[in-house]
């Protein structure tokens, strides 16, 4: 563990130290990140994390660069790498060049999810970001991260639609904020979180009272989202407002299909299980066709938006300055919304 920032680091990171402080920066410096699948969204997330100054990043991808990758938004690729490994030396050198202080490595040897020896591999990291895994891979990876105590961020995206999920195990962090009109009290604050400690103090700088409070959040594994009671007690209006992309993504991940009827029927089953309304006409007629048509595609603005939001969330988690999301986010690029659901 290195705890002191050098004068050079302070000069380089000046503008961000004013957001998360030297302590937050030190936490970042000691973090070891694994990126599974070098998608366009993956490229945006690690770009932001490398600029922020995390300790190390390993990029895993066993695929080769394809013609269509040049319109997906991964800007570390260049056309001369067509048909080469997605983590070709030249590509990784470009990633490394972003911030020479970060140790960037690559792996293209396929990950054998069945073999337990992978535990040792995964244990080298304290946070894993996984893009576009299959349902089976997702479940296996989540079991591994739970057993090894590794934080996990999952993403799935189809064109202008996206989903992100995080499992931060049990996260206990202390935050400082201005005092609300109603003082914070020890006890549950949401489905998965409780405040375990609150201290009020006077902040001389702002000349206001602030609170130092410790939040304990019990994150849930990904499979629990399929049986979540998160929406059981919602008002009618709120229930209606829950993004139906949630069911489209989750059911399509579990049972991949390109048939709209099948997707609609699976998604409706899930809507029922989650105590949500049947899919709306709008979703069936407009969203489902474009969702299916855009399966497996990515585009730069969506990667930039989701990558910016998720990298900041990861920084919030690692730097312990701001509460990270809990635990499922939907990106809807048609309606310009990005809700977070505590499943």
């Amino acid at each position: 563990m290195s705890n002191e920032l050098s004068a050079d680091e302070i000069a380089l990171y000046d503008r961000q130290l004013r957001v998360w402080g030297a302590e937050g920066q030190t936490h970042l410096k000691n973090s070891r990140i694994l990126l599974l699948n070098f998608t366009s969204l993956g490229c945006e997330i690690i770009k932001n994390l490398i600029l922020a100054g995390v300790g190390s990043v390993e990029i895993y991808d066993s695929d080769t660069v394809k013609e269509q990758d040049f319109s997906a938004g991964n800007f570390f690729l260049s056309e001369s790498e067509l048909a080469k490994s997605k983590v070709d030396q030249a590509i990784i050198d470009r990633v490394r060049d972003l911030n020479p202080r970060v140790n960037v490595t690559a792996r293209d040897e396929p990950i054998l999810w069945e073999e337990h020896k992978n535990m040792e591999y995964f244990r080298r990291f304290n946070l894993i970001i996984a893009n576009n895994l299959s349902y089976e891979e997702t479940v296996k990876l989540n079991a591994i991260t739970r057993e090894a105590g590794i934080a996990l961020y999952l993403t799935v995206n189809h064109g202008i639609y996206g989903l992100a999920f995080n499992d931060l195990l049990i996260n206990v962090s202390t935050y400082v904020d201005f005092k609300n009109p109603l003082a914070r009290v020890v006890g549950p604050i949401s489905r998965n979180s409780e405040i375990v400690k609150v201290e009020k103090f006077y902040d001389e700088e702002s000349e206001k009272f602030k609170e130092r409070f410790t939040v304990k959040s019990q994150y849930k594994p990904f499979i629990d989202t399929y049986t979540s009671s998160a929406f059981a007690n919602l008002t009618k209006r709120k229930r209606k407002n829950v993004s139906e992309l949630l069911s489209l993504f989750l059911s399509n991940l579990q049972t991949p299909t390109s048939d709209p009827t099948e997707l609609i029927s699976k998604a409706n089953e899930l809507q029922t299980k989650l105590q949500l309304n049947p899919l709306s006409e709008q979703t069936i007629n407009t969203t489902v066709p474009s969702f299916l048509e855009q399966q497996g595609t990515e585009i730069a603005p969506v990667s930039a938006i989701m990558g910016g939001a998720l990298a900041q969330d990861i920084i919030n988690f690692i730097s312990k300055k701001v509460e990270p999301m809990d635990n499922l986010m939907i990106f809807d690029g048609v309606n310009y919304s990005m809700p977070v659901y505590e499943m």
Partner: protein, 598 residues
């Protein structure tokens, strides 16, 4: 599959082709600009022109991801374009300009008119207002963005339909009464202000510009914050002694003279004014003796660390002494020194004198890191928010492009810190009828600058049916009104009116609304005025009581100027609610620029 596969599937063939054949302008290649340029290139916009006057600094590299350490001091515009050409998969034509956007010879109105869309990625309100006006003159849509730390916004201006950049009232930076700064500070920021704007500039700045906002002349009691004659006398004496002191800047004993005057004698003099200390804690002058100084001089650079930790009084004095010595060596009457947060000597001087003064007045000391932030108006900035905001700017542009219903279809986006969402969005607002920018009727006039103002006035009267009671001005300069008719026989050239100026015509009979003409020039002896429909000046209306938006539990914003590449602060509410014509009348008044006669 083809190289364009993703874009064609997501955008559709038609939109893809439109984008591919478009020409767009990106103003700014800083934090948001680098991100936007990347997005626009990856989307395959046909032609992208990038304007940025600035060069690259070390502190940009944490977020302006197209730049590397080896690029420091290089122009942002050309470096950014070189960097993105590595992934210019769709062969966008890329054109950089290392110029100020205000250069009308490089960027005439016709040049702006050649773009389909303008992306703002600016760092200051003045440039945003300028581009806003250009958009209004040309009826061109602008996608405006800004970030501060983890906050940020994207907002489109669609002239004639949506609110424009200047429809929203922006807070002006806080000022302090002179006496708070000069004799009764109570917060670190007061001491920073004193150290930077009064002490530093008095000692090392230009002789006459010493301290305009801290001088006592021409100020009333409210600006001064006191009417205590004894106090004012003391402050006056202090200033005069400082001018005297500056004469000994070449002496070896200068450092001791400064410390003894500023941190001992001036404080003793203030203590004599008993009235000041009846309700306040008294300041304590430092005890500066040769023995004490000898101890101070033993402090090493290593002991001071990297500036994150608080320094003791003695450490501050040691930093002060060494910075004075460095500044003394650099100073001459012909090369005065300006404060710059990146100039270590000037920063050290300000940090140390701030803290010594804070110590004297029982105010908490601050680290060099923190004082740099206050003195340098540093705005926090991170890569993530810029990526997010630029991503939305480019995403929204796809929906705005060639869309006659853009006003209805697009949204204003704000990065949200609420737990249940990453953004909040709202419909675009309607124009504010009292806006000083978009309530004005605009057009382009073509004028031979050798002609006289009289000829212009005649032409205006004839063309638009004004009577002669009009006032003409450019920027803050009034060039003609009924009481100022000395100028009428002068030529435009004599009055320094030039290509690209915005000439404002105010109907002093209060019938017609305000008109602003963009001046283009000819040498054919002609004045050609545009066809305009000038609406009547709106009658003042009673303000309706404002309602709160039901959905605005968190989010903040409003925009403040800074020297870095990103801006804004304060409350999103004020934007959201202003973007509904709900803003208060007095705000509009404050937006009205003050004019001076020339």
């Amino acid at each position: 599959m083809t190289k364009d596969h993703n874009l064609k599937v997501i955008l559709g063939e038609e939109k893809y082709n439109q984008i591919h054949n478009s020409k767009v302008l990106l103003v700014g290649a800083g934090g948001i600009g680098c991100e936007l340029l990347k997005d626009l290139v990856l989307l395959g916009f046909g032609e992208i022109h990038v304007v940025d006057l600035d060069t690259i600094d070390l502190s940009n590299l944490n977020r302006q991801f197209l730049f590397r350490h080896k690029d420091i001091k290089q122009p942002k515009s050309t470096t950014a374009i070189k960097a993105v050409s590595g992934f210019n998969f769709h062969n966008s034509k890329l054109v950089p300009y290392q110029n100020s956007i205000y250069e009308t010879d490089v960027f005439p109105l016709t040049w702006f008119d050649s773009f389909d869309l303008i992306f703002n990625a600016l760092d200051n309100a003045e440039a945003r207002s300028y581009i806003n006006k250009i958009g209004l003159f040309l009826n061109k849509t602008i996608l405006e963005t800004g970030t501060t730390g983890t906050k940020g916004y994207v907002q489109a201006t669609i002239p004639g339909q949506s609110a424009c950049y200047d429809c929203t009232f922006r807070e002006t930076p806080k000022t302090f009464p002179v006496c708070t700064i000069r004799s009764t500070p109570s917060q670190p920021v007061h001491c920073v202000h004193w150290a930077k704007n009064f002490l530093f500039s008095s000692l090392f700045g230009e002789d006459d510009d010493s301290v305009e906002d801290n001088s006592l002349e021409g100020k009333d009691a409210s600006e001064l914050g006191t009417d205590n004659q004894e106090e004012l006398q003391a402050l006056m004496k202090e200033s005069n002694e400082l001018i005297e002191l500056k004469r000994s800047i070449v002496d070896e004993s200068f450092e001791d003279k400064v410390i003894e005057k500023i941190f001992v004698k001036d404080i003793e003099n203030l203590l004599k004014i008993e009235e000041l200390w009846q309700q306040r804690t008294k300041p304590t002058p430092i005890n500066y003796t040769p023995e004490y100084k000898a101890e101070i001089l033993k402090i090493t650079k290593e002991q001071l660390g990297t500036g994150q930790k608080l320094w003791t009084l003695e450490q501050n004095l040691s930093v002060l002494i060494s910075s004075i010595r460095n500044l003394q060596a650099r100073y001459s009457a012909t090369t005065p020194i300006e404060f710059d947060k990146d100039d270590e000597d000037t920063l050290d001087f300000v940090v140390a004198s701030t803290n010594i003064r804070s110590h004297i007045f029982n105010i908490p000391l601050k680290s060099k890191f923190d004082i740099k932030s206050i003195a340098g108006n540093i705005i926090p900035a991170v890569a993530t928010t810029n990526a997010f905001i630029a991503g939305f700017s480019s995403l929204l542009s796809l929906g705005i492009f060639n869309n006659p219903d853009a006003f209805k279809d697009t949204r204003a986006i704000f990065a949200s810190e609420a737990k249940d969402r990453f953004l909040s969005s709202g419909e675009l607002d309607h124009p504010n009828p009292k806006c000083s920018a978009c309530s004005v009727t605009r057009g382009v006039a073509n004028i031979d600058l050798s002609l006289t103002f009289r000829q212009l006035i005649d032409a205006l009267v004839e063309k638009y049916g004004y009577d002669e009671e009009i006032a003409l001005s450019v920027g803050s300069k009034i060039l003609y009104d009924l009481d100022l008719d000395d100028n009428v026989e002068k030529s435009f050239t004599e009055l320094k009116v030039k290509y690209g100026d915005h000439l404002e015509i105010l109907d002093e009979t209060d019938v017609k609304g305000t008109v602003e003409l963009y001046i283009e020039t000819n040498t054919d002896g002609k004045i050609t005025l545009p066809e305009l429909v000038i609406p009547d000046k709106p009658k003042p209306v009673e303000e309706k009581k404002s309602e709160e938006d039901e959905d605005d539990d968190d989010d903040l914003e409003v925009f403040e100027e800074n020297d870095e590449d990103e801006l804004l602060i304060v409350e999103e509410k004020s934007i959201v609610s202003s973007v509904g014509g709900k803003r208060k009348l007095e705000d509009a008044e404050d937006n009205e620029p003050k004019k001076v006669k020339v």
